[in-house]
């Protein structure tokens, strides 16, 4: 009690210095809180923009898939077919920490020009539209046309892909019916509606050598709800059309009628090697048993990815556990965290998050140093007073406690106010409607609208950080003050 009384009165007596230290604490706490809010908002935003809109937390791929970056690899390197998806999905869905899973096809497709122009290309996702919408609700906004109904074939074309096709092919695609010209590529808005094309001929870009061209009707034109500049390159079609484009469908059907050895031949990745060596039947073919299910006798359709949403685990840990399970059950798959699966986007997200946290950390250290220096100077200025207290019987511990109490009072008052104001700013900023179309900024913003976020855990983190600043800033002044001897007081007199 004596310590707190002395601390409070000392602070009041040295109001000017208290205001300086308090001001630093206030500003530091404000920036720490806001910084934590931005980091948290970014994490939450990334979750919404990537995990909950496009990839899920974990992406299961074929064990033959070499490159982890399955979504954004340059030049659309083929994503290996994923087999035994039914078994994989059954296993994944049986885990208590899995919220859901969705198989998906993903590869690149050439968009063929039907006259004499250059072909274009799109990243193509093959989905069961109904399940995809349930898995990623609101992820895609259809602005013209409509989402294909269950069992219906069709293509959802995002504005980004349409822009890219226009740049390479000189053709603009849109669903039948009226279309807002603002949805069309900027340079193509002057074109007459009659010149718009309503279907697109796609041909898979894969190693199966069985891809074929497939005409797909453009059912809808629209935008991804977030990161449209990136995800906007991914057109979505029904899975049956996707398999036809990639040649998977014919492979499946053929497998139903072929003998086991014939299936092996067709399932092989290395047909050139087979054909170059003469006797086809004598070849020992090593390749995925792509389509057979020994237990049920059913043909397991081929996909490329199994997207998994999880709870209560980090994606990295979940991926490791899934890998372990796949190995135990000899399932031909491996799991990637979403960071790995989106390649540079994941790295960029980690980099931005790391930079923000680094900035907050730097702020933390600078604030601690400035406060420590100010308090140490204050302790030295008060050597006479402190020495006198030591002379009349105050222990070093008492003096150290006094210094700590003074810093703590300042931290509670000014730091507390800083955290409170920071929390208010974080609460108000999302309502100001600060928007950006830049995808990099969207990652920092947590979406198109700048949306910092503070959860109770973040507030607790702010308090811990403030406590750490105070603790760190107090050590040196406490040492200085506790080392003052009664003789210092007398010598100063």
């Amino acid at each position: 009690m004596l310590v707190w009384r002395l601390a409070w009165r000392n602070l009041w007596r040295h109001r000017g210095r208290s205001l300086v230290v308090g001001g630093i604490l206030f500003l530091g706490a404000l920036l720490l809180t806001f910084g934590n809010g931005v980091v948290s908002g970014m994490a939450d935003g990334l979750r919404r923009q990537v995990v909950e809109s496009f990839t899920g937390d974990v992406v299961v791929v074929s064990d033959k898939q070499v490159d982890d970056n399955v979504f954004l690899s340059m030049m659309g390197k083929e994503v290996e077919p994923l087999t035994r998806v039914t078994s994989l999905q059954r296993l994944v869905d049986s885990l208590s920490w899995v919220k859901g899973s969705l198989p998906m096809g993903k590869n690149m497709a050439l968009a063929l020009h039907e006259t004499e122009g250059s072909p274009g290309f799109v990243f193509l996702l093959g989905v069961d539209f109904q399940k995809w919408q349930e898995f990623f609700p609101g992820a895609f906004q259809v602005k013209a046309g409509r989402m294909p109904s269950p069992g219906q074939s069709g293509l959802l074309l995002p504005t980004g892909a349409n822009e890219q096709l226009y740049q390479t092919m000189g053709q603009v695609f849109a669903p039948e019916g009226s279309v807002d010209t603002l949805l069309l590529p900027k340079d193509a808005r002057g074109l007459s509606l009659e010149s718009l094309r309503h279907d697109l001929v796609l041909m898979g870009y894969s190693n199966t050598m069985s891809a074929s061209d497939q005409r797909l009707k453009v059912s809808g034109l629209g935008k991804y709800s977030s990161l449209n500049t990136i995800w906007g390159h991914f057109a979505i079609c029904d899975i049956e059309s996707y398999r036809s484009v990639l040649g998977y469908h014919r492979q499946d059907e053929a497998a139903k009628d072929l003998s086991a050895s014939q299936s092996k031949v067709l399932a092989s990745d290395d047909l050139d090697a087979l054909l170059s060596d003469g006797d086809l039947a004598s070849q020992e073919i090593v390749g995925p048993q792509a389509t057979g299910n020994a237990t049920t006798g059913e043909v397991d359709p081929i996909w490329n990815l199994l997207l998994v949403k999880i709870a209560d685990k980090t994606p990295e840990v979940a991926a490791e556990e899934l890998d372990s399970l796949f190995r135990q059950r000899s399932l031909p798959a491996r799991a990637l965290s979403w960071h790995q699966a989106v390649g540079v986007i994941g790295s960029l997200a980690l980099l931005i998050r790391g930079s923000l946290m680094g900035f907050v950390g730097l702020l933390f250290v600078v604030a601690a140093i400035v406060i420590a220096n100010t308090l140490a100077m204050s302790a030295m200025e008060r050597a006479s007073e402190i020495g006198m207290m030591r002379a009349v019987g105050a222990t070093r511990l008492f003096i150290a406690k006094l210094m700590l109490a003074e810093t703590t009072v300042l931290a509670v008052l000014f730091g507390g106010a800083g955290i409170l104001l920071g929390a208010c700013v974080v609460a108000v900023v999302p309502h100001l409607g600060i928007t950006t179309g830049n995808d990099l900024l969207q990652m920092v913003y947590g979406g198109e609208v700048f949306r910092p976020l503070l959860r109770p855990m973040d507030i607790l983190l702010c308090l811990l950080e403030l406590g750490a600043v105070v603790g760190l800033a107090s050590v040196y002044p406490m040492q200085i003050a506790a080392s003052i001897t009664p003789l210092d007081a007398i010598a100063r007199d």
Binding site: L2, L6, M389, A391, V392, G393, L487, A489, I490
Partner: protein
């Protein structure tokens, strides 16, 4: 019975490349109930002697016993404990805690000691302030008191723990002569009424008439009583 026993006390200070010999083998005893004045010119070593007896400075060699404890072998914590429980200090420049009132300043050593109720501490501090004649100023901060009033508060603070020994280094140096004399009379009264042992330093020969015992020091050596 002696409260303080000093034998062959030497204190040297390094000063640049030379050594200052502040005390050169001082030996003396201070009996319980003494009102002793250490007299000498500036730089004679009287403040150094008081500092070592008061456990705020360390001897280079020799022995100092306060209340039977050999202070030269005590740790910092033990010395602090000794200062808190057995020694009272009165400083030349009063040295009160500026943010505490007169009453709180007197309470301060008792609160550091702990173990007594707040009411008891307050009551004891009031009694002492009344004893030194400034109870009416108990709620004033040091800055609101005159030099004489501050020194009275300092005396009350020095006495509040019922110490074996009160050390006062030139307690009247910053006071006018009339106030200085009143402070000395107060110390004389406390010595007579409470039996408290006082040891004070001065270079003012007028002050000597208040002392029961006088020790003269010159160039770090006792030169006669």
């Amino acid at each position: 019975m002696n409260i303080v026993e000093i034998r062959d006390l030497v204190k040297n200070y390094p000063l640049g490349n030379t050594t200052v010999h502040a005390l050169r083998g001082v030996s003396m005893d201070i009996p319980k109930g003494a009102l002793m004045s250490v007299v000498g010119p500036s730089g004679s070593g009287k403040t150094t002697l008081l500092n070592i007896v008061g456990c705020v400075d360390a001897a280079t060699s020799g022995s100092v016993k306060v209340g039977g404890s050999e202070t030269t072998s005590l740790t910092d914590r033990e010395l602090t404990h000794l200062r808190l429980h057995k020694i009272g200090f009165i400083f030349q420049t009063f040295n009160l805690v500026p943010v505490l009132t007169a009453l709180e300043n007197v309470e301060f050593p008792l609160l550091l000691q702990g173990g007594q109720s707040k009411a008891k501490v307050r009551e004891k501090a009031r009694q002492l302030l009344e004893g030194v004649g400034i109870l009416g100023h108990q709620d004033h901060k040091p800055a609101e008191l005159s030099g004489g009033q501050r020194q009275r508060v300092a005396i009350a603070r020095a006495l509040v723990t019922d110490p074996d020994l009160v050390l006062a280094d030139e307690p009247t140096a910053n006071l006018d002569s009339e106030t200085g004399e009143s402070i000395l009379r107060l110390m004389q009264t406390m010595n007579q009424e409470r039996g408290t042992t006082f040891m004070f330093s001065t270079h003012d020969s007028q002050v000597l008439r208040y002392a029961k015992d006088v020790v003269r020091i010159h160039d770090g050596q006792l030169v006669g009583a």
